[in-house]
Amino acid sequence: MADVRCPMCGKPNAEEAETCLYCQARLKPVGPGAEPLGAAEPSAAGGDTVPDWLSRLRDQGSPTPGGTRELSGEAEAPSDQEASDWLSRIRTRADDESPAPSGSTSPAEDVFGRGKPAEPSGPVPAFASSAEEKPPASAATTPAEPASEEDEPEWLKRLRARRAVEGTPGAAPGPSFPAPQATGEGLPPDWMHAPHEDLATGPTAAPGPQLAGGEGIVPSWLSDVQPPAPAPIEPVPPSAPAAPAAFASEDDELRGAYSEKEIPDWLVSAREEAAAPVDVAGLAGVPAAPIETPPLEELLAPGVLPEWLTAGSSPTPPPIEVPGEGLEQAVLPPWLRAMRPVEGPLAPKGEPGEAEERVESAGPLAGLRGVLPPKFEAEVGRHPPVLPSLLDIQPAHAAHAELLQRIVSTPESRAVPRARRRPQARPWGGLAVLVILVAAMMVPGATGTSVFARPSVIAVETLQTANLINSLPRDRPLLLAVDYDAAASAELEAAALAVLDHVMTVGAPIASVSTRPVGAALAERLMTRTRAAHPQYQSGINYLPLGYLPAGPIGLRAFAANPWQAIFGQSAPEGWDAGMVAALHASSNFSAILVVVSDPAALQSWIEQVHTAVPSVPLVAIVSAAAEPLTRPYYESAFPSVQGMVVGLAGAEAYECLNALDPASGRCGRLGVADSMWDSFGMAVLAAVLILLVGGLASVIRRGVISMRRTSHE
């Protein structure tokens, strides 16, 4: 009869002894059918091998205090008290949740997972890692029956499988990084707080060791952007003291913010709803299988929807937030995000980051990779990318995080039960709005009346544009940048025609270029329409169409550096030094740059890439009304990047008025494109204002009625 060696102190004990005679450690497992811990053999592959200190944790289910003492003994946890505290809390909670007899407690493997120590805790968001911890903790109280493994959720099975593969013997938990902060959002103010807001942040792990450099060496703003990539690369000695502390911290919050008991019913149901996104296909970039007509937002999003609205209608992708990354994502205030339809055509259906790489499989966009790389990378004005490839995140974690984000970002949709939604509300509401608008727009044309006043105040920026064009030389061409989509042509053509009419009246030669593929055709459209009044403008003589500049800001930078090379792909041949083409030798040869844009990012690119290269060439802009707020800061400055602006249809109307101003009477003369739309424009805006006013009034009445009902109930 051989003695049994205590796995803790190594001293021999009698075979039938339940606990070690010397250190009181349990010698036999508490679960049925399990082998004694001391007899556990590490697997041959090593993947499942558990470090000593963790294997001792397995005994934490035992109510004896010896278990906690053993934990703090060899594993060199920060302190005995700390370790015992968090373990005892788990035990207490387990007891609270399931008053199962101690004999039915499952083996410790179920509590901590086999590969846990080898898995770097850094890249996993705190709330995700808390979620990761929670199910095993509750599983500790369940009987170790074979069926329990089958019943466990799919994500937990995957987690187990992955741990089994990735577990490394002897490796201690990697350094713990600060938890993600409120999904990287700017914090909403008090008046827009939702009661569940705290849940968004999830439990936060205590800050672990700093990355290379640390504070004081790297500026704080730069250290914020350092990714946690080194974490899994640099192994940490098994005795790293911070790891158990991080566990303890996570567990604190596990018990606090993420306690199963504290999750209300609606959250549980919401989590069930989130089962679909758990599907790895979406996260892995595999296109969704069902073939369906593309929703309207896919068609609207690229060019038609303004960026600010797109941002408001699509939640930021927080689930793959990099822990420890201090760079927050800018997010619209919740009150503005409330504009997002619950189930309308603009309802977000996928992760933005996913869409960028996903190959569309259905609808007319099928086959296109979300956004093509050159445009995507070159565009300025987007959130810092959060790259899933850098994070070793389980789909289940991402799904949990997504669930939390969804709960936070759409409080209204959560608050309204599905059964109460009226799917027919949107189409009929949309139809009513369209009918009202169309009727208002048709009134002036149908009645032939013109009752709307012309602009009484001409904006300073419009006057400055006109002054600059008045001073254009006739020996150097004006560079016309047609950088708008066909969608904005109704508004921008009216303004561009008015300004071009002025340019041609002055007699300045024109060269046109575009960073949009369709720009060449739109430029030709403009010139064709303007030539009716200015037939002297002929291509090759005083009009030079330069065509398409690819790759967005890259192409613009190339154009600023050497226009000829950017357009023709080679150096200018000798002898081409006369006429308009001579201007192409250097971008400073242009007399001015007239940019027509519908997207503020396009004007920004022109300013950043071209105007900074040739600041001596004045830049004026014709912008859509939708782009005005984000382009105006470039104009409103002591040293403006934009020397003049014409904004929208109102600016076009004012410019037409300037072009045909009768000095004697001070009244506008000749009609232009903008003027032909002016009365309909006035009617349409009035109708829109009325619709909004009626909506506001109705909302006030509705709230009054609700509060009255509430009062009467009370």
Binding site: L222, T293, W335, A366, V380, L390
Partner: protein
């Protein structure tokens, strides 16, 4: 740790290009020109690959007669027709301009017009869902800007136009400038992460 060739290429390319912004010199200028022209070509090829991918998926859909393949036929026919016209005659030829003016423009402007309906519905929805200080300021600004932009029947109110101009010139500029600076900071940080090799979006 094995450093990948792509990381070296990205860092070197970015460093040379970035230095070209701040350091004058013929060497940087010539290298920069070559890189920019190469970037333009590669970007264009990437665009073409995207179109090819689109075509491939729709052709497969037609071949396998999946649901909606009739729409794909429309798409493929229109794609090839327009491609042929523009390649044969050039992007600024009257035929190409006709395609843009009579097909693409009505479709895109129609979609843009639908956006007015969507925006109005979203505004009403916002009024119904949240009534807070931010909502109030938001709508007050929107009303004043709308009324100051558009004409009024029978009367002219210069005060309203002046108020509108002040709103877009002062407080709006303040907010928009904050947004622009934030975006520029974010773009710079993101770019630096790529240039320092922390982010490798090309490794996918």
């Amino acid at each position: 740790m094995r450093i990948k060739a792509s990381v070296i290429v990205a860092i070197l390319t970015g460093a040379i290009m970035l230095l070209g912004y701040f350091l004058p010199g013929a060497f940087f200028a010539s290298v920069r020109d070559v890189m920019l022209r190469s970037g333009m070509i590669i970007g264009t090829v990437a665009l073409l690959l995207g179109v090819g991918n689109l075509l491939q998926v729709h052709l497969r859909k037609i071949r396998e007669q999946r649901p909606g393949h009739l729409y794909s036929i429309f798409m493929v026919i229109s794609l090839f027709s327009v491609f042929a016209v523009v390649v044969l005659f050039g992007p600024a030829h009257p035929y190409s301009v006709w395609v843009v003016s009579e097909i693409q423009r009505p479709l895109e402007i129609g979609l843009m017009g639908l956006l007015a309906v969507v925006l109005l519905l979203a505004g009403v929805r916002l009024l119904f869902r949240r009534q807070a200080l931010g909502t109030l300021v938001f709508f007050l600004t929107a009303f004043l800007v709308l009324l100051g932009t558009a004409p009024l029947p029978f009367i002219s109110l210069p005060f309203l136009e002046g108020l509108r101009n002040w709103i877009v010139q002062v407080p709006t500029v303040a907010g928009a400038r904050g947004i622009l600076l934030g975006v520029a900071l974010g773009a710079t940080a993101t770019g630096l992460r790529v240039l320092l090799g922390f982010d490798q979006p090309y490794e996918r």
